[in-house]
């Protein structure tokens, strides 16, 4: 994968700008479960996701979690370089949901090119607007959707990501995605099981009626 695969404006950058971005970039690997970036204290750099799956989430003072969005191959992670903008006044934690290969461009390098390049600055705005749109979708889900609908949407999305109707995921992990206690997840999954929509096994959930699951999600 090339830088041009991540930056659609790559050919609008000047030679010295391209050189600078590539010269300082470093390859890194993050095993499944590891934290790539934790809160505001760090400003690791812009991350280009070459492979794997990254979860962006926020935590309560008591350690509760809710997933904001996920990043996949060819996505760019902006908030691991939040210091490139003064106005980013919130903390996002990033963790690898699957083994990940990432190219890191140091924040100060990226910032210096962005400061002089209108194409890169505008592209960065677009990346931020995408994440903003995902968080706005989340706000609408939390505010206007019932929990059964949010759980059904999550399970459908997981099946879609994994390409399988059997999901190896615990009730606690689902709770952390949705910002809900494990017991609430377990209760709703049991209801889905009673209705014949899923089958529950130890450490796994099998979707047996995907059509109805998607209907509940709508």
């Amino acid at each position: 994968m090339d830088f041009a695969d991540f930056f659609p404006v790559w050919d609008k950058l000047k030679d010295n700008e391209r050189d600078k971005l590539t010269a300082y970039a470093k390859e890194r690997r993050f095993p499944k479960g590891s934290v790539l970036h934790g809160g505001s204290s760090e400003c690791t750099g812009l991350m280009l996701i070459r492979s794997g799956q990254i979860r962006a989430y926020t935590t309560s003072p008591e350690g509760k979690e809710i997933t904001l969005y996920r990043l996949f191959e060819r996505d760019i992670c902006l908030f691991s370089a939040s210091c490139i903008m003064n106005s980013i006044q919130f903390d996002v934690t990033l963790a690898a949901e699957k083994d990940a290969e990432v190219t890191v461009i140091p924040s100060e390098v990226y910032k210096s090119v962005m400061n002089s390049s209108a194409p890169l600055a505008n592209f960065t705005s677009e990346v931020m607007a995408s994440r903003f749109s995902e968080v706005m979708w989340l706000v609408e889900q939390i505010m206007w959707k019932s929990f059964d609908s949010r759980l059904a949407a999550f399970l459908s999305e997981e099946a879609n990501i994994e390409g399988s109707n059997t999901l190896k995921i615990t009730h606690e992990v689902i709770g952390n995605h949705l910002g809900s206690p494990r017991e609430v997840v377990t209760r709703m999954l049991k209801y889905f099981a009673d209705e014949g929509i899923v089958r529950l096994a130890r450490g796994a959930i099998e979707i047996t009626d995907g059509t109805r699951l998607r209907a509940i999600a709508e």
Copy 2:
């Protein structure tokens, strides 16, 4: 108020860029209660708030509302020009909470300058990052705070904005700010009244113990 009061990067723009932004700008007035921008269908333009108070909110399919953030004098409203970025995939409604005087820069004019000017593009990113931070604050409030705490924070903020401990606001309007049914607001206000924190009158709420109110908000 001058354009330089809104754009800290004004002196970094070229003469022709400054001329373009000012030449096409139009003054508009929005009386209290009017909608400046409604959803994605319109792309009115970037709005510079010269005076007044603007509320940005999102609505459910059933017409329920929740306030995302508010804009005051010297603020810039970006989402009334959401078509300047392809990746803004959500709808925000903007309404005047107080009579407002606004300078509107047409979206295509702003976009054309932003496309060539790195300073303006980076400044636009900062404006978006500010709004993003406010929405992230909202997510954390909704997810981790109890309703009494959110209501107390709202009343404290209102008293702060109005410079008065007597707020002329209905329970329904408060509900629309917080995304909660009127009855839930009324019940909690009655609890606050029983505790001696507020005094309730027809169409008005008087804060009688601001210290305790702020303590509940924390």
